[in-house]
């Protein structure tokens, strides 16, 4: 039983099972679409969780990276007839480079500066996507060609359900491995006390930059997949509120918990679909939920529930 509560074996198995069995209860295309969005949001959050939960830095601009990935795929395939996978790779490389250039000087600093820098970067990206109408289609967005694998056109919600589910599973596996590697241990030391980490010889800036770049590349990949899955993309994907959504998913699910990021993404992707029934009261309710969860479960849902469960199983609560 203990073993099943362990992150690596039990968790991955459970996630794979959920992804495999979910289609049994998904009644129609609409729900498949929500599931795809959940998986892609979760992909962003697994990366962002490395940054927030392990490197202790906050990014308020990850939607910018997500949208850049999406638009790299959209523009290169639609306007320049690139192969979809090549466009995706170029998007990831470009976003990684951009993240590196921005992070290197700023991550030397502490506190709110990365928040400000990423916020600024995200807003600039959103404005550029809105204004460069000949290239991006402006606020109306643009249609995206189907992703092609040889002669096979990857279309339809079921296909994309399996693609996004599969990519998410791989991403979670990668993230868990990273956390248990030397990099992960260095990051945990850094989060505990940056000065202490530095004195034992950890190049804290280097690790923070590395994680920032990784999380940006995850977001870019998710954006590319999103563009091809939905066959459409608009600049709202780069908006400040979208960045906030990502951060909120991570924090709500539980910082420093990879599965927490997935759970948070699932809840905050599905919740607005339910809250649309409240019509005008949607935002009000969403804001209230955020505040209440942060006050009563500051560690996030998954770590809090995990502790309770461990307690029930008979282990010592952490």
């Amino acid at each position: 039983m203990r073993r099943l509560l362990d992150a690596r074996t039990g968790g991955l198995l459970a996630l794979a099972l959920i992804i495999a069995l979910l289609p049994l209860i998904l009644p129609n295309k609409f729900y498949y679409d929500v599931a795809i969005k959940t998986a892609l949001n979760a992909l962003v959050c697994v990366g962002l969780n490395l940054l927030i939960g392990y490197a202790g830095q906050i990014s308020l601009g990850h939607a910018g990276f997500f949208a850049l990935g999406g638009y790299a795929s959209a523009v290169l395939t639609a306007r320049y007839q690139w192969n979809g996978f090549a466009a995706m790779a170029v998007g990831m490389a470009g976003v990684g480079l951009l993240a590196f250039i921005v992070a290197r000087p700023i991550l030397r600093l502490r506190g709110h500066y990365l928040a400000m820098a990423t916020l600024g970067l995200g807003i600039i990206i959103a404005i550029v996507l809105n204004r460069e109408i000949p290239i991006t289609g402006g606020p109306d967005g643009m249609t995206v060609p189907a992703l092609r694998l040889g002669e096979w056109r990857l279309i339809g919600t079921t296909t994309w359900y399996w693609i996004s589910g599969g990519v998410l599973l791989i991403a979670v596996w990668l993230a868990l491995n990273l956390i248990d590697s030397g990099v992960g241990r260095a990051l945990r030391a850094l989060h505990g006390s940056e000065v202490a980490a530095e004195t034992v010889g950890i190049d804290t800036t280097r690790y923070k930059v590395l994680i920032f770049v990784i999380s940006a590349v995850f977001a870019s990949l998710a954006g590319s997949l999103f563009a091809h899955a939905e066959r459409f993309i608009t600049p709202t994907e780069a908006g400040f509120m979208r960045s906030i959504e990502f951060v909120t998913m991570v924090v709500l699910g539980g910082m420093a918990s990879t599965y927490g990021a997935v759970v948070g993404a699932a809840i905050l992707t599905v919740l607005p679909q339910l809250l649309t029934k409240l019509h005008d009261y949607e935002h009000l309710a969403f804001g209230a939920v955020l505040i209440l969860v942060m006050i009563f479960m500051p560690k996030g849902l998954v770590p809090t529930l995990q502790n309770r469960l461990r307690h029930l199983v008979g282990g010592q609560p952490r």
């Binding site: 709110h112 600024g120 942060m294």
Partner: protein
């Protein structure tokens, strides 16, 4: 010259608004090291409440303004009391990220409340003293701009007096320098925190009222204003009062000049491009001191 003056006038006006919002950020940051992402929503409440009190309540402008500032201040106090304090006051305190999410949640909540009660439309306040522009060297200055600049100057003077001359102002200043030491000499730091939210909400509300006749007001104008105010606060050096004012005015001027001479399409990006450049070359802001961290 006339053209330049025209841009400078509009830049100064907008800059004064940014400065008021940035001062609000600085006040709360100093009292608690919290970045209050609901700061922009105070601006919304100020403008929208005045409109509601005048059209719905039938109050004259002169009464509606102080009432709206009071309402905004009360919202600020409630935010601290019911959302921030329960998180901070818990044993072990709360992480920076937690507090950021709480204030973001509050901003979404406030926007939701304003949208439900007052609708999604643009609203307009009448200018305080007519709309006939004043001609200065060929440039046209709106009388409302004079109100914005004049009131901002008054507010800055009042704050200077408050922090320099009054007992409670000095207590707030002491808390910002060293919270624990302030507690030890008998300062009620919880009251200081509460007051900082009330005061910074009042500043934001005032900014919203002053700018409503020029830029109109709507339930979601606070998002951009809040973010630019945050940029102004960082530009001047987070936590520095004079820095917030200089940062606000500088951003306003840069934005207006860039919109006038370069491209109005990228007007909203100017503030954020500047802030990225500043973070690269002078990370502690224009007036912020070099900070070292206690281990």
């Amino acid at each position: 010259m006339a053209e330049f003056l025209q841009f400078a006038f509009s830049g100064l006006t907008v800059g004064a608004i940014y400065a008021l919002v940035a001062l609000g950020f600085a006040l709360i940051y100093n009292a608690s090291h919290v970045i209050n992402f609901a700061q922009g929503e105070f601006v919304t409440i100020g403008g929208m409440a005045t409109v509601a009190l005048m059209t719905g309540g039938g109050l004259p402008l002169l009464l509606a303004i102080p009432a709206a500032v009071m309402i905004t201040a009360l919202v600020g106090l409630a935010l601290e009391k019911f959302a921030v304090e329960p998180a901070i006051g818990r044993p072990g305190g709360a992480s920076v990220v937690t507090i950021i999410i709480i204030t973001i949640g509050a901003s979404i909540f406030i926007r939701g409340v304003v949208q439900v009660t007052l609708g999604k439309d643009f609203h307009r306040l009448p200018a305080f003293s007519g709309e006939a522009p004043i001609d200065i060297l060929g440039a046209r200055l709106q009388p409302q701009s004079l109100w914005v600049l004049g009131v901002t100057l008054l507010v800055v003077a009042a704050l200077w007096w408050f922090f320099g001359r009054t007992r409670f102002g000095k207590a707030m200043l002491a808390t910002s320098h060293n919270r624990l030491a302030a507690q030890l000499v008998g300062i009620d730091t919880r009251l200081v925190l509460l007051a900082s939210f009330g005061l910074s909400a009042a500043l934001g509300g005032l900014a919203g009222i002053l700018t409503a006749p020029i830029t109109l007001t709507k339930y979601d104008i606070g998002i951009m204003l809040g973010l630019k105010g945050f940029a102004a606060a960082i530009l001047g050096g987070l936590g520095s009062g004079p820095g917030a004012i200089v940062g606000g005015i500088a951003l306003g001027l840069a934005e207006a000049l860039a919109a006038g001479y370069i491209s109005s399409a990228y007007k909203d990006a100017v503030a954020f491009i500047i802030i990225l450049v500043v973070l690269f070359v002078r990370p502690s802001g224009l007036l912020g001191g070099r900070s070292t961290e206690r281990v």
